[in-house]
């Protein structure tokens, strides 16, 4: 017992010492910048490389954690550099004064300023200010399809240049589904229904919201857009509660459980690890609403990085930002083809060696022309659309609600969230 007690006291003393020693940060010494990002977007190798090369600016990474971000915000000490899952959220954050205005930094940087691809990075430019850049962007609605499944079903491959309509896409997906065998025609990934709905509304000349983004649009045409996603699941063309996927859409596609996915350019890099990928998989552009009509695509606003408005070291943080976008990490990312770099000079580094890589890059660069910012409202976060949608969708799939009932439920919870968002920004 005595030994345990002594050990405990020693540990206590040790602990307090460590606490006291680290409690105050010398203002002149090296600064520590916190990066909130998943490891896949800001790897520990890059961090280690930076830390050895720059003893005066040390980086530490924290996992993306909503609870932590909010608590940090209340404490007045958010992470310095933050990964934004979808640039569609930029207006939301900007309206709440969370982001550092980088316009001057961009124009002062020879590596970034003149080189930005404004079409692809547009979501990070809000009300004439730059708030960050995508790590890379993608035409996320372009189709990757499994050639073998088309051949087996005796269906000709879709055109690589002329988009089909969403009705055709739906019919095709239905033909390719075999629910009893766990094979789906297509799958809507994560909360991409919100973004696809946004594209569809653009193509029909409609908006998802009315009254300056503060209410959902009750127009029957727009309601019908949302219903499309309900039907996909109800008709067993996409996964539902009874027919589930193991893992996410991309892995199910690669294990031959999905015939077509709308994931976009970056997903090609994932497929490239599968043996025989360039023979097995093909590409088609994002569908349209009217044959030969307007084409619209989006990039979810693209995953990217911003700098907190409350950072104590904006200059140092921008140095890291610049390095990440234009130097080693940026070049490495471009070469692997995980997305189209936000800097034009890096776009030539994208892989273009085989038919598969050629097709996806050609389609991507063509579709960039039709890219529009997602129509999500700045009064609430993308995550809220997802969770509210899922709740309504589940009620519908379990037979408790009709199609219209589900849309009503979704609209009701969204309108509530939008009204609260209005309060939040003090309107």
């Amino acid at each position: 017992m005595k030994k345990i007690l002594i050990l405990l006291l020693v540990l206590l003393a040790f602990g307090f010492q460590g606490w006291a020693a680290g409690g105050t940060e010398a203002p002149t010494g090296p600064v520590t910048l916190r990066i909130m990002s998943p490891a896949s977007d800001f790897t520990d190798e890059w961090i280690a490389a930076w830390n050895t090369a720059n003893p005066n600016i040390q980086l530490i990474r924290e996992e993306v954690n909503q609870a932590k971000w909010i608590a940090d915000h209340l404490a007045g000490t958010p992470a310095d550099i933050i990964n934004v899952g979808a640039g569609a959220d930029i207006p939301y954050f900007a309206r709440r004064n969370l982001l550092l205005d980088l316009t001057k930094y961009f124009s002062g940087s020879s590596k970034i300023g003149p080189d930005i691809d404004k079409e692809g990075s547009g979501s990070y430019f809000f009300e004439n200010k730059w708030y960050g850049l995508p790590k890379d962007y993608n035409n996320v609605t372009a189709i990757t399809y499994n050639k073998e499944m088309f051949t087996k079903a005796g269906i000709p491959f879709p055109s690589q240049t002329v988009p089909m309509t969403y009705d055709e896409f739906y019919a095709l997906a239905k033909k390719l589904s075999q629910p009893a065998k766990g094979i789906f025609g297509t799958e809507i990934h994560g909360n991409w229904s919100t973004f696809i709905a946004s594209d569809m509304a653009y193509m029909l000349g409609k908006t998802l919201h009315v009254e300056n983004q503060s209410k959902m649009n009750g127009d029957p045409v727009v309601r019908n857009i949302w219903k499309y996603f309900l039907r996909l699941r109800k008709d067993n063309i996409s996964s539902n509660l009874t027919n589930t996927l193991s893992g996410w859409a991309g892995s199910a596609f690669q294990s031959d459980n999905i015939a077509m996915v709308q994931l976009g350019y970056w997903y090609g890099a994932s497929c490239a690890a599968i043996p025989g990928f360039d023979q097995k998989y093909g590409w088609a552009p994002a569908p349209v609403m009217v044959k030969g009509g307007t084409r619209v695509t989006n990039s979810l606003g693209a995953t990217g990085f911003v700098i907190s408005a409350k950072t104590k070291y904006p200059d140092q943080a921008f140095k890291v930002f610049e390095w990440y976008m234009a130097d080693k990490p940026g070049i490495e990312r471009a070469e692997t083809g995980w997305g189209i770099p936000p800097l034009k000079s890096l776009q030539s580094k994208l892989p273009y060696g085989n038919a598969f890589d050629k097709a996806r890059k050609d389609i991507a660069l063509e579709e960039v022309k039709y890219m529009r910012p997602p129509q999500t409202s700045w009064y609430t976060r993308n995550e809220v659309y997802l969770n509210n949608w899922k709740e309504a969708e589940r009620e519908y799939l379990s037979g408790k609600l009709t199609e219209d009932g589900a849309i009503d439920m979704f609209y009701k919870s969204m309108n509530e969230a939008l009204a609260l968002g209005k309060q939040e920004v003090g309107e």
Binding site: R96, G182, S246, E395, A417
Partner: protein
């Protein structure tokens, strides 16, 4: 007479001093880690604070009024309640049954006891992952086993169609803890009682009814309260056993289906996903009061209706 009184108050004072001396660490920890935080939460629940509010104002009990009109919150409380009740039944009935089974006088019971308890030792995050893969519709071991045995012809979507069952199954898997408590209870029963019953010619069922159950009732009462409280606090398993919520290689904090959208995940959703800080705090405060009141009522009933040599 007078001096005796003085010494007794002296002892009383010394005793009190010692009491607080030994309680001091807990009191400090409680105040800092729990009391201040929940009071902070209460204070915040009286405002209209959102996660990134630019202006915050005091609104009194407005949020609490909203809680009582919120159907979603009601559904979550209801789901939690159903889960806690079923889980309590599992913990008490099966825990007790297992304790009886391994308490028989046969060789090797120590071995079985040990291995029945083992799943409880597995950390809960690991439990979630193990069961998620165990119950998976397409690659899960349970469906493979059932179809190999010819019991099912088509794979069952355990996670999607029977979500509550999977979370309860996790509770069942971890029943060893409850078993141990009941084993402790069985050990307190003097064997003379059984000997006396043998003399009276009582069979095993009768012995269970007249000796074991009454003697073990305090343990049953204890286990009921504790399982209920833990059930009301269930948080992480519904996320890990949510059929749709793996993106990339990670579990996301996406809301679970209605049957397992318990009140703590609901609070998490309100506060962190939807950013409704003040309202989320109000919901959790109401939850706290509900758990507290139910537990106190329950403890009172249990105290009256069980055989007990209650100490202090």
């Amino acid at each position: 007479m007078k001096s005796k009184l003085r010494t007794s108050t002296f002892f009383e004072r010394e005793k009190r001093k010692s009491f607080y001396l030994f309680m001091s660490l807990w009191i400090l920890g409680f105040a800092v880690f729990q009391l201040i935080p929940i009071l902070w939460g209460f204070n915040a629940s009286l405002t209209n604070r959102m996660a990134f509010s630019l202006k915050v104002k005091f609104v009194g009990f407005e949020n609490y009024l909203k809680v009582f009109a919120d159907e979603g919150v009601f559904q979550s409380i209801y789901a939690t309640f159903i889960f806690s009740l079923l889980n309590t039944v599992i913990q008490v009935a099966l825990g007790f049954a297992l304790a009886l089974v391994v308490n028989t006088r046969i060789r090797g019971k120590g071995f079985f006891r040990l291995f029945y308890y083992l799943p409880y030792v597995i950390p809960v995050v690991a439990t979630g992952w193990i069961l998620r893969i165990f119950f998976d519709k397409n690659v899960g071991t349970l469906n493979i086993l059932l179809s190999n045995l010819g019991i099912i012809s088509q794979n069952i979507s355990w996670l999607g169609d029977h979500t509550l069952f999977t979370v309860l199954a996790a509770g069942f898997w971890r029943v060893g803890w409850s078993m141990l408590i009941f084993l402790g209870g069985l050990a307190t029963i003097p064997s003379e009682l059984y000997d006396a019953a043998d003399v009276d010619g009582a069979g095993p069922v009768r012995k269970l009814g007249i000796i074991t159950l009454p003697m073990i009732s305090p343990f049953i009462a204890f286990q009921c309260v504790v399982s209920f409280i833990y059930g009301m606090q269930e948080f992480i398993l519904p996320y890990l056993l949510n059929p749709t919520a793996i993106r990339g290689g990670q579990v996301t904090m996406e809301n679970p289906p209605r049957a397992t959208f318990f009140i703590l995940p609901k609070g998490y959703d309100l506060i962190f996903n939807k950013g409704r800080l003040a309202y989320g705090f109000a919901v959790l405060w109401v939850t706290f009061i509900i758990i507290l009141v139910l537990s106190l009522i329950y403890a009172r009933i249990a105290k009256k209706s069980t055989y007990s040599e209650m100490d202090g």
